[in-house]
Symmetry: C2
Subunit: 163 residues, 2 copies
């Protein structure tokens, strides 16, 4: 598969202070059918984050149109938290942001795939590299993932799943 | 990440004729909290299929409890088609089944990751290797994926997205 890099990369500081104009204007000039289809499923599309370097699937969440637009504009992953009913800027509390390298849209437009650089080395709020750290075995679920941080030390209000 | 292989592999013929008893009984003896949580989201969990050999994310769909149980029992991916409102045995028409090598459950139990061998080389009903064959660029969506088959030749009734 071709992996031409989308020049979405901006520094953490730049993202928080001011999104780069180029990506905002690129979004604004896109045709209506040039992105995901937010007209179904309550305005949400599924969003899969995959480690751009290792190919590991890190997490799965949802985006609304605003989250998707902000992701493209800033180059950092923004999801929509169904449990909190608001935008969820990944890493907003932990600092473990996801720098988005490439974005793909699936055949029917209801899912996107983000290839990301995971700052801090762990995508999961439990401290594991990936949210998919439990494998199904005939004996039940077995933890096979690698724990990178202690969530009690990272989250002031304790970890909770925002998906 | 550890990649201990789940011995889920069965031949195509064996699956269609009779699921191997060992996996059915393994499911039956699992504890209630040893798998995905089907109590939320209308009984559905998100299911991501990833190529076990290349790491490529192939598709994203949904499973209900019955689809998940049948997937484990047969070793072939079974989803729940929201548009058709019934079980969707991947490859039932095209023959392009997914042989499931490993299954992972995410932190809050509302998504599963399948590592699969994609028979026929293409997961997407459009004939592309992956459903994520369109990349977002500043100029709009660009087809970057590899087309493996012509859907008009594979589907008798024409291709349609079952997700």
């Amino acid at each position: 598969m071709a992996t031409k890099r989308l020049s979405l990369v901006v520094s953490h500081r730049a993202v928080l202070v001011r999104p780069r104009r180029r990506f905002v204007s690129a979004m604004a000039t896109q045709k209506p059918n040039s992105g995901p289809d937010f007209s179904k499923n309550g305005g949400l599309v599924a969003a899969i984050a995959q480690d751009a370097a290792t190919g590991e699937v890190l997490m799965m969440a949802y985006m609304n149109a605003e989250a998707y637009a902000e992701t493209l504009a800033t180059g950092q992953a923004v999801y929509f938290s169904r449990s909190r009913n608001r935008l969820w800027r990944k890493g907003e509390e932990s600092g473990h942001v996801q720098r988005v390298r490439e974005v793909y849209v699936d055949c029917d437009g209801d899912a996107v795939l983000l290839k990301v650089e995971q700052v801090g080395g762990a995508a999961c709020h439990t401290g594991f590299r990936t949210c998919f750290f439990r494998q199904v075995t005939p004996e039940g679920l077995k933890v096979v993932g690698q724990r990178v941080f202690n969530p009690e030390e990272v989250y002031r209000r304790g970890p909770s799943s925002p998906t």
